[in-house]
């Protein structure tokens, strides 16, 4: 999940309008930018779509970390294309957020100042090439789990962005799994790398779905608005059920001794991640929070003269056109 811990805004508005709005949502109507919507709905969406967009953008960094060290030309091209897709996802999502009356620059400023968050997963380091496999397999895998239902979310521009994004995410996941296959069937060093990557990314991937439902107090309103389609625990369970057999197929061991098929529930039992670690990362104390935010700030600051230069050029051109007319 690329948007974690989104607090739903309460809403105090005309009860009649609210009821009519809720009726549209219940009838699976899509809400479009020009439609009336409760302020809380708008604010919650801005926060969620913005956080999702920021996650795509910051998410470029852990994988960008390996682009220049990719082992073959083909792997380099695949990885670069993937990171490029993520930039594209960021772009679609910023555009979706803009339909709610907030500009990309405003959202960017809020990311850079630390006011807005991005997914905690991108605060973990990528240490070996196998991490490129693990990220595609687990992180994109978890993202898909969350985003597929969001294709049916009530806000039209968000739902449509999700449709485009989901197609590419499943491609990413397959490519990640393909890297893991190569590693798991490779030399003993490669196998070690693959296992090590799974060890490090397993719990952070489970955290991507957000805190346990019993501690997640903000979900109800979002579920009613169909901004959130499933509970955190539902999605996490689904992810575990899908991923454990995939790990077995690779000949890798999920780093949780409690993982066991439960014949009664027909699901896997598993251990909860360390939620203290999760809240630490959210608060800014993850292994890479400082670097990630610094990297985004540096890119933005270093690019200021470029953005200003293009703007100055556009103004000159417009002035010349005016003068010629």
């Amino acid at each position: 999940m690329y948007a974690q811990m989104i607090k739903s805004e309460a809403t105090k508005e005309d009860p009649e309008k609210l009821a009519a709005f809720q009726a549209r949502i219940d009838a699976d109507d899509k809400i479009e930018p020009k439609d009336w919507m409760p302020l809380g709905y708008r604010k919650t969406l801005v926060r969620q779509i913005g956080q999702h967009a920021h996650s795509e953008i910051v998410g470029q960094l852990p994988e960008g970390n390996w682009v220049t060290r990719a082992p073959t030309l083909e792997r380099k091209a695949i990885l670069l294309a993937k990171v490029q897709d993520e930039a594209g996802h960021g772009l679609y999502l910023y555009c979706a957020a803009e339909t709610l009356g907030v500009s990309r620059d405003e959202l960017t400023e809020d990311l850079l100042s630390g006011k807005m968050k991005y997914s905690s997963i991108f605060n973990y380091p990528t240490l070996t090439w196998a991490d490129m496999g693990a990220v595609g397999w687990l992180v994109d895998g978890a993202a898909i789990m969350n985003q597929v239902p969001l294709q049916r979310t009530s806000y039209g521009p968000y739902a449509r962005a999700m449709v485009r994004i989901c197609k590419e995410e499943s491609f990413h996941q397959r490519q990640g799994y393909d890297i893991m296959m190569k590693m798991a069937n490779g030399t003993s060093a490669q196998k070690r790398m693959a296992q090590d990557a799974l060890n490090r990314f397993w719990y952070p991937a489970l955290m991507m779905f957000g805190p346990s439902d019993k501690d997640s107090v903000h979900s109800e309103q979002s579920m009613a608005w169909k901004i959130k389609m499933n509970t955190n625990d539902e999605l996490r369970q689904k992810f575990v059920d899908q991923t454990v057999p995939q790990a077995e197929y690779l000949g890798l061991t999920v780093p949780d001794p409690a993982v066991k098929w439960n014949d009664k529930t027909k699901r896997y039992d598993f251990s909860e991640p360390d939620w203290d670690e999760f809240f630490d990362v959210i608060k800014g104390n993850g292994p890479c929070n400082t670097e990630r935010l610094a990297a985004r700030n540096r890119a933005w600051d270093d690019g200021a003269w470029v953005r200003d230069g293009f703007l100055a050029h556009a103004r000159k051109k417009a002035a010349r056109r005016m003068a010629a007319e």
Binding site: I57, Q60, L61, G64, V67, T68, R69, A70, P71, T72, L73, E74, R75, K76, A77, L80, A81, V83, Q84, A87, G88, G90, L91, Y94, R104, W129, I179, K182, G186, T187, A189, Q190, A295, R298, A299, W300, D302, G303, A304, W305, V306, R307, D308, G309, F310, L311, A312, H313, A314, K316
Partner: protein, 252 residues
């Protein structure tokens, strides 16, 4: 043209795209604006794809069983045949795009000629690549003009980039024995012949960009022949080749 000469000729084409593609990929996710990130990645992807074609063919011509990846990942500095221009560091965005423009302009002219090559494989690759490079050139031209004729600061930075990189342009047009063999076999153009056309087009773009090409005609060389690369290339290869060197024989 002997197979050895043809091999060298193809290495030059493939190493140019390999090295510039790699340099461009170093930007990954850190561009000045999202659209530029996407465009930089596009350029890098095109160049990597062209590298696979050029070096793949080079390996066939050499017929010692080396793949494009072997050639990219397992040669050391002195065996690289790219011009010095493309191995220059990225610097700021302006320097990167100035380097891109100075290369694209040559690349576009070169590929137009190579499409008429007597070697059908070269003609085929050149045709495919030229469609991509036409777009690269359009974009780098717009960037050089936009930032050259932009704000005072962007103008200053673009002029500095041009001053820094112009001495690496001349190498593109200095012919040697391998070029002569390519001309004789109808495989490729005379580099010197492209030079005049290049200069005219560059003058035109720089005039629109309000930038001045340095008057000193001095040109560094040594990349294309492999005699003397700059110090930058070794560091780039250290990073690019690390995994293949550290885990020899592994499949990825």
């Amino acid at each position: 043209m002997t197979p050895q000469d043809l091999f060298q000729y193809l290495l030059r084409l493939g190493d140019n795209t390999l090295v510039l593609g790699h340099r461009t990929s170093e930007w990954c996710g850190t561009g000045p604006v999202l659209e530029e990130d996407i465009a930089l990645a596009n350029t890098a992807l095109d160049l990597i794809g062209q590298t696979q074609m050029w070096l793949g063919y080079a390996g066939e011509v050499e017929s010692e069983g080396r793949s494009a990846d072997d050639l990219a990942m397992l040669r050391d500095v002195w065996d690289f045949r790219n011009v010095l221009l493309v191995e220059q560091p990225n610097g700021d965005f302006g320097q990167t795009m100035m380097r891109q423009f100075l290369f694209d302009l040559w690349h576009d002219l070169m590929l137009a000629n190579l499409q008429k090559s007597a070697d059908p494989r070269i003609a085929e690759i050149a045709e495919k690549a030229s469609k991509e490079v036409r777009y690269h050139l359009e974009r780098s031209t717009d960037t050089v003009v936009g930032l050259g004729d932009g704000s005072p600061e962007s103008h200053r930075r673009m002029q500095a980039a041009l001053n820094l990189l112009w001495p690496y342009v001349g190498e593109l047009f200095v012919p040697d024995d391998i070029d002569a063999a390519a001309v004789a076999a109808g495989i490729g153009p005379d580099p010197a012949g492209i030079g005049a056309q290049y200069r005219n087009l560059a003058d035109e773009v720089m005039a629109r960009a309000t930038l001045a090409i340095p008057s000193d005609p001095f040109a560094h060389k040594g990349g294309k022949s492999g005699f003397r690369h700059t110090e930058h290339l070794g560091h780039m290869l250290t990073e690019m080749q690390w995994l293949q060197r550290a885990y020899p024989g592994a499949t990825w």
